[in-house]
Symmetry: C2
Subunit: 326 residues, 2 copies
Amino acid sequence: MKILVTGAAGMIGRKFCEALARRPEIGGASVDKLTMVDAIEPVALTGASFAVETFQVDISTLSLAERILSEPPDILYHLAAVVSGEAEADFDKGYSVNVTGTQKLFEAIRHAQNRPRVVFASSIAVFGIPFPEIIPQEYIPAPLTSYGTQKAIGELLLADYSRRGFFDGIGIRFPTICVRPGKPNKAASSFFSSIIREPLNGQTAVLPVGDEVRHWFASPRAAVAFLFRAGAIDLRDLGPRRNLNMPGVSATVGEMIASLEAVAGPGFAKLIRRDPDPTIQRMVDGWPRRVDASRAKELGFSADDDFEEIVRHYIEDDLARKSTVR
Amino acid sequence: MKILVTGAAGMIGRKFCEALARRPEIGGASVDKLTMVDAIEPVALTGASFAVETFQVDISTLSLAERILSEPPDILYHLAAVVSGEAEADFDKGYSVNVTGTQKLFEAIRHAQNRPRVVFASSIAVFGIPFPEIIPQEYIPAPLTSYGTQKAIGELLLADYSRRGFFDGIGIRFPTICVRPGKPNKAASSFFSSIIREPLNGQTAVLPVGDEVRHWFASPRAAVAFLFRAGAIDLRDLGPRRNLNMPGVSATVGEMIASLEAVAGPGFAKLIRRDPDPTIQRMVDGWPRRVDASRAKELGFSADDDFEEIVRHYIEDDLARKSTVR
């Protein structure tokens, strides 16, 4: 089976490819070849039992389409995206990669005519306030960012291309991924990872919002498991609604900090410095606190049990093993 | 005030332009110039007190953008679309006009930098089964046609371009327009108009579905009134959710036929020949029966009182006056 992953140099893409090297099968079918695609040259995998090629390309250009036409994958994982902060700062780049790039990729798959499975990484960013405390599965995607808009458009295209029989698509709406390894980035959500990661690394973290802030999380390990599951399930069970809320852990900042201390020991929370930022507080107040993921759960998707497990997964996967992820 | 209407040669576009000629103001501001744009050369308006120009152009090409940049409108009515039957039959044409064309138009408006009002014609085709008997305002657009997908994408773009301040947009989700003047077309919904229009013209109509079928309607006169209202209301009241379900009349086929006889007299229903078509019945069974339009009503949008009024509007506007609409 041939797998193609876009965004393979990204955090989740990289972890997924590494997991494939350790466990080279999806849904009982073994992986023969993996093509890692990213705008940044992906570092080649080591220790994989299957062929690996890397391909550095902007997905909004046509050369990826040619590659797909010459060697169509059996499963395409479309994870590449301009992330939320950048899509908001650079309107043209966000639409070019996240909408035009996705359209070109889907068109290439359509014209390859081998009707593969397409797994599309969407996000809870498709939701914007107001929404109920638990966002229902049939709630309108009314995003309040360009990134969320672009993901919602990708979901619509995925469903229509699937309905037309051009490919067999499944869209997975990721929770906020936490704890992200590496350094803080400029995303407004960056502090969610920082307040766990930095103390565990003996560093100070800044907390710009109140302890009562509640949000929806999954660990990188759970995110990788979603990708395996999305590649494995029988898509005939899905019907025309192809985009699924993924399960996650709903936790307040206060609960996150308590989990850090419960797992790592008392004292770590002292490294968290409270420095309220009204701008970030206002943004975060508009983010989902909990989503109904019962369809995904019925289909065998599962997330971390609780936030303590999320902390443990970071310690095991990234702190102890020294992550290879940028 | 300069008005630009795309789709000006279409049924609603034409009626709206004719109504503007009779009542050349929107929201208290008088119309100085009307630009009628369509893929088919629009027939020039007669009797207008303002300047009228017609422009035949495919909106997925760039020449409309140049026109907009050289003379930006104060209100853009974007009604042009490849209709549902054609968008399903010709996948590429539907996406080219309904998505790429809409994107190019929005980009032209963005670069003109005059931040006009944009009124976007959407449709209840954004909804696909399953849905509740009355579709809530916050229900997910999960379309089951390429046309509905393309309209849902247009809605998302409209909301994001508005949020970013590139223009001030409002999307109006039209009910099925009934009674359409003219001849039956190939749309699966064509019979809804035929069973009223053909008997009133002394002709036989074919009814392919059962009398119990319920659907959501507005007359062409109500549709034109929606467009005037969308041009007039204070969009600051709208918030980030820019796309509104329009009010309509929920009626069964049986109620439609009873209305025909109540308005026109007994005997007309004899011209309706029942010829069940399971394919059409199955399609129509997946169409909205009633939508919650309370936000639009609060903003002053109103539809016909009942189906009898819809029949009377057809008689007054098209049967008696001999419509100029193709």
